[in-house]
């Protein structure tokens, strides 16, 4: 009885201690540094005051706010994490680097749940590495659409790329669409025809696989469309809104150029989603990337301070603060409730962006080298004289992408040949790294593929090595000299290579 009592008492004591510690834990004053874009510096100061006045934890934040552009923040953080800001904002393409450098602390379970449910799916994917959320979505407006001069391009022409080019040539004015200098823009043509370039990272932010279909018949259609644009003498490779002041009649750029362009064109400014192009009688609506800005919290040595800063970051990226940023600076919110608000729905630039979003691809994690590899496609396309030249441009691209993972000798390829080897989807290629990969097998007559060594293209492992999940694949016997793995059913599979053994699990 005495023993039980003492156990109970101890338990009670521990409980009160933890409860007390928890309630009092976040209360206090915290000195922190915040990096935000210059244009929201004052607004952020005001929002922090609001947070200090209203938060329920008794947190008082004394913030030193510095203007650091989202483009520079990541590089600075990686240079010296210790001297970097406690809260900083960055464009999503910097995300993987920051996770690898250990410059981001992951969100708590509760905060992660709130972020997941209240923001659009694209931005949540952008802030996730593996299964872990590492940042708070700040905006969801990092995409592009078409600005045009109504006095040059009539409204009925804006849906057709060919018509816009013709109007520009007629008026001797430029059509600015950044091509040779930015993969972010020129990928637009590939997304139009349904090509994808999807990269996967693990929990540490390391790239483990890619699924890329730019080098395919669909990709060839895309570059044919691209050729129409880059061959025009009035095509200008630029995304600068100020191009309107130097003889441009149409510019493809983002919401950040809105005020500049409005200032130049005034009532003649038109905004709309991107046009379509036509190849062999079929029309393809140009796609786009839709990206976002994120707010990250630096890992802290003091966990209580870390928790307090996370509370602030959560507040700063909540619906109220996002709406304030929209009202002050027209930053497109990522918060679903804010996106649905009448004020946001009434902004022409954001409406054009959201219309374009229907054709857009969320910008997930992308290998840093991809941007340089993909941007040269348009130069190759411009130099090409026939279809073979266009195909060569795609081949060059594909070789470079492959070599990113080929460098790693542990990498293996799973080349899928869904529906027969001459099928359009033959280029469905998945890269293994660290021996594991998840793949979607669509229903078709032949749902097989082979695992090869990237350099030699020899079959390395296949049907004969499958030890687990042999019941999921077909035994073709003598009809399988290439050691192919042929699935019985369509579905999502995880294929793992461990030493010489292959295991297949249906998900």
């Amino acid at each position: 009885m005495k023993k039980l009592l003492s156990v109970l008492l101890t338990l009670a004591m521990v409980l009160t201690m933890t409860a007390g510690a928890f309630a009092a834990s976040l209360e206090g004053t915290y000195q922190i540094t915040i990096w935000v874009a210059e244009e929201v510096k004052d607004l952020t100061a005001k929002q922090i005051e609001d947070f200090n006045a209203t938060n329920e934890y008794g947190i008082t934040i004394v913030a030193n706010i510095e203007a650091v552009s989202e483009a520079d923040a990541a590089t600075s953080m990686i240079t010296d994490v210790e001297a970097g800001a406690d809260i900083f904002c960055f464009a999503q393409d910097q995300f993987a680097r920051l996770v690898q450098a250990g410059a981001l602390s992951s969100l708590g379970k509760q905060a992660a749940e709130i972020v997941r449910t209240s923001n659009d799916a694209g931005v949540v994917a952008a802030a996730t590495s593996g299964d872990t959320l590492y940042a708070y979505p700040l905006t969801s407006d990092n995409g592009y659409f078409l600005y045009y001069d109504k006095s040059v391009i009539p409204d009925e022409d804006v849906d057709s790329l060919e018509a816009i080019i013709a109007d520009c040539e007629k008026a001797q004015k430029y059509f600015a669409f950044e091509m040779g200098t930015s993969a972010w823009y020129n990928a637009s043509f590939f997304f139009a025809t349904g090509c994808v370039s999807e990269w996967k990272t693990d929990d540490d932010g390391t790239f483990i696989s890619v699924h890329d279909t730019f080098n395919s018949p669909a990709g060839l259609i895309a570059v044919k469309g691209m050729k129409k644009l880059v061959d025009s003498p009035f095509h200008l490779s630029s995304s600068d809104g100020a191009s309107f002041a130097s003889n441009a009649a149409a510019v493809v750029t983002g919401i950040w150029a809105y005020t500049t362009i409005e200032g130049i064109l005034g009532d003649n400014m038109g905004v709309t989603d991107l046009p379509s192009f036509e190849v062999d009688g079929v029309s393809y609506h140009l796609g786009s990337y839709n990206g976002c800005k994120l707010m990250g919290v630096k890992p802290q040595t003091d966990p209580i301070k870390g928790a307090a800063i996370h509370r602030l970051a959560q507040y700063l990226t909540g619906e109220k603060c996002q709406m304030e940023r929209f009202e002050a600076r027209a930053w497109g919110p990522s918060n679903l409730a804010a996106q649905a608000s009448p004020a946001v729905q009434a902004n022409p630039g954001l409406v054009a962006l959201y219309t374009q979003n229907a054709y857009s691809v969320p910008q997930g994690q992308i290998h840093g080298s991809w941007w340089d590899i993909a941007k040269v496609i348009s130069d190759d396309v411009k130099n090409a004289t026939d279809d073979a030249g266009l195909q060569q441009a795609l081949d060059n691209y594909y070789d470079k992408i492959s070599s990113l993972f080929n460098l790693d000798t542990s990498a293996l390829l799973f080349v899928g040949a869904w529906n027969g080897w001459n099928n359009a989807d033959e280029s469905d290629t998945y890269y293994f790294k660290d021996g594991s990969l998840t793949l979607d097998v669509p229903a078709s007559d032949y749902m097989g593929g082979r695992i090869v060594n990237p350099g030699s293209w020899d079959t390395d492992k296949g049907f004969a090595q499958v030890t687990v999940g042999a019941d999921l694949i077909k035994d073709l016997g003598a009809d399988n000299p290439d050691n192919n793995i042929v699935f019985i059913e369509a579905g999502n599979y995880t294929v793992t290579i461990d030493g010489d053994a292959i295991s297949i699990v249906k998900n």
């Binding site: 990096w35 210059e38 989202e70 600075s76 809104g241 130097s246 003889n247 005020t259 130049i264």
Partner: protein, 295 residues
């Protein structure tokens, strides 16, 4: 060229006359020179004109402003620009004073004194000077960070770094001191002057051009520095110099709002340097060439 002159008939030569031919060659060289200076001056003129443009703040496709005014200059004072400017000025002035003292003392010592290891020391510094300074940047940053001289305290940190390496820039002034006759020193020493008095009262008055050249180069280094200043200030506005601060206005989200103000800032940065050079140009040229002549 010679051949074509030879082929000219004597009558033709008389026809043109010396005056005419020199006029032609003058015209040609002037046209070429004007062309070169136009090409060279265009960026400066553009920046100057853009800084007076008031109708818009973003980049435009024309050079001559439609509406002139001083708005951009006025707006500069509502930003952190005065702070950046002061930082730059303080750094440059401190460096100009201390670096000049160090360099002149160093040159005097190496020129007049004979001591053990003098030659090896000079060779060592020559070799040391061949390593690019950028190599040491990361180490220096860490050291300064540990000393608490980065970010908002970047100014003392920068002064320290610039001054610390200044002893190695003695070549030009040592060369100049070598040209001053030693018998002057000896005469002064016989009259009872100390070594320091010799430097102060005999050598320095005779080396005005080199002193001014040393001050100018010492001032110009930190005045125009960007790479190191950017690293040390590490995104903290209070510790930036003018170049680093202004560069921030060229980022994608700010350029359309701050472009003309950036130009105005650039003009203000150029003003003191231009004035300094205009006043001291005579000495500067003498200083640069002076060290090279051994008399």
């Amino acid at each position: 060229m010679i051949q074509s002159q030879k082929s000219e008939t004597p009558s033709m030569k008389r026809h043109m006359g010396m005056k005419a031919s020199s006029r032609i060659s003058n015209t040609v060289s002037y046209v070429v020179l004007v062309l070169i200076s136009v090409i060279w001056l265009i960026p400066f003129v553009c920046i100057l004109l853009q800084s007076f443009r008031c109708e818009s703040t973003h980049q435009v496709g024309y050079i001559i402003p439609q509406k002139w005014g001083l708005d951009n200059y006025r707006n500069l004072f509502n930003t952190n620009f005065p702070r950046w400017y002061t930082n730059t000025l303080i750094t440059a002035l401190f460096v100009a004073v201390f670096q000049t003292i160090i360099v002149l003392c160093m040159s005097y010592t190496l020129s007049r004194f004979r001591f053990k290891m003098r030659k090896p020391l000079m060779q060592f510094m020559l070799i040391l000077g061949m390593f690019p300074g950028m190599l040491s940047m990361i180490i220096l940053y860490q050291v300064l960070k540990d000393l608490g001289m980065t970010q908002s305290n970047a100014v003392p940190g920068l002064i320290l770094v610039y001054i610390a390496s200044s002893g190695m820039g003695y070549y030009v002034s040592k060369g100049f001191f070598d040209t001053i006759s030693k018998s002057l020193d000896e005469a002064a020493r016989i009259d009872g002057a100390t070594r320091f008095q010799v430097l102060l009262k005999i050598i320095l008055p005779l080396s005005k051009p080199i002193v001014i050249y040393t001050i100018l180069t010492a001032f110009m280094g930190p005045w125009g520095d960007f790479v190191f200043a950017r690293y040390i200030s590490f995104n903290v506005s209070a510790g930036m110099n003018a170049a680093v601060g202004l560069y921030g206005w060229l980022s994608q989200d700010q350029i359309s709002k701050n472009y003309t103000m950036f130009c105005a800032g650039g003009v203000l940065v150029a003003v003191p340097v231009t004035i300094l050079f205009m006043c001291l140009q005579r000495y500067y040229v003498e200083g640069v060439t002076g060290g090279a002549v051994k008399g």
